[in-house]
Symmetry: C2
Subunit: 130 residues, 2 copies
């Protein structure tokens, strides 16, 4: 049991690191692969839930298909089946650069796949043009 918990903690830590790396270097499909078969994504909080792989791929395409996109992990904290982490995201399309710094809450299933993601940031106040 202890080993199983330790394994899950390690898997969750690795999944968060991979998520951040893929936001810079990956494809929408690779990011979607981090999710469980059944999941929900609320990003930002208050947005309609995304629950299908097609919606995920479309959503992450909004980042991964831009001219420039770079995510940097600020910190993460993992306990049980849950990770909370803050990251900085810079995107640029043409001359328009934007940055946000969300705090994401991810819940994982027993296989280390994301079953729920909620991103705490407010488009009205947190989206900065740079």
């Amino acid at each position: 049991m202890a080993d199983t918990a330790t394994d899950l903690t390690a898997a969750i830590n690795a999944a968060v690191d991979t998520y951040i790396d893929l936001l810079t270097n990956g494809t929408p499909e690779q990011i979607a692969d981090l999710y469980a078969e059944t999941f929900s994504v609320e990003d930002p909080i208050g947005a309609p839930l995304r629950t299908t792989r097609d919606e995920l791929v479309e959503f992450y395409g909004l980042i991964c298909n831009l001219d420039e996109h770079k995510a940097t992990l600020k910190w993460k904290k993992v306990a049980g089946n849950t990770a909370v982490f803050e990251f900085h995201l810079f995107t640029k399309a043409g001359d328009a650069g934007f940055e946000i710094q969300p705090v994401d809450v991810m819940v994982f299933d027993e296989n280390g796949k994301v079953s729920s993601m909620r991103a705490v940031w407010d488009p009205a106040t947190d989206l900065k043009q740079v």
Copy 2:
């Protein structure tokens, strides 16, 4: 609608500040009053859910009834119906001092009452004797 959203954001910000203050200066009953009629508390993540007022009062009594207990908010971030915040908690009973620094995720109902609280910290690694 914008006013309602702004009001909820203000109510959530105030509730988090009150929560931290009550962990130092309040009673378990005052803390329980911050919760909605229907709620769940998972603290730390992985612990059995607490869902009744009696369980809440007993739980917060574990802190509020100690000789010394002081909570300090490190930061908070609010979006939509959700707050995420980190705080430092010091407790002392007799000669035994302990500190933890959880990241709590609180979801609020439309009246600004807590409907869900999950505390991200791991007793195995985050509980420090001081």
